[in-house]
């Protein structure tokens, strides 16, 4: 079953990568880009009978390996579920 995990820095955490991208875009003439936050994106293909099982497995994996819960939060999407974008 196809799942996706989006890992982002918590809003209170400063994002130097994003700041660097905004500065680079400014010097390239893209002043219309006000803010950038960079995160990580994972596509996981998992063995699971139901979407709920897949979500539970992938959430556990995200907590333990993909995200650092101290400074990052994550969101899980599972194919075949009503996903909130």
């Amino acid at each position: 079953m196809k799942t996706r995990v989006f890992v982002t820095l918590k809003p209170s955490v400063f994002d130097p990568q994003g700041k660097t991208i905004v500065d680079a875009l400014g010097s390239m003439g893209y002043a219309g880009v006000r803010d950038v936050r960079q995160g990580k994106y994972f596509e996981l293909d998992v063995d699971a009978g139901t979407a709920d099982e897949a979500r539970s497995l992938v959430s556990e994996v995200a907590d333990k390996l993909l995200a650092n819960p101290v400074i990052e939060s994550y969101r899980v999407e599972v194919d075949g579920e009503g996903n909130d974008v």
Copy 2:
């Protein structure tokens, strides 16, 4: 206007980071995870009058700075558009 860019390696490009994650998960007991592909995720806040303008600006930025079109592909989502997930 809030937009999101997902950058992923093209399917034909080997993803050593993803392979490492699958191996690590296997050794942690998560054999149910068959495949992982890692990508990048950006949230951009842009000045744009319409969703179409925002999409066009962000696609240009993704082409020039966020993605390497030789080995990566990207997908853009704009708030307030009918987004295909």
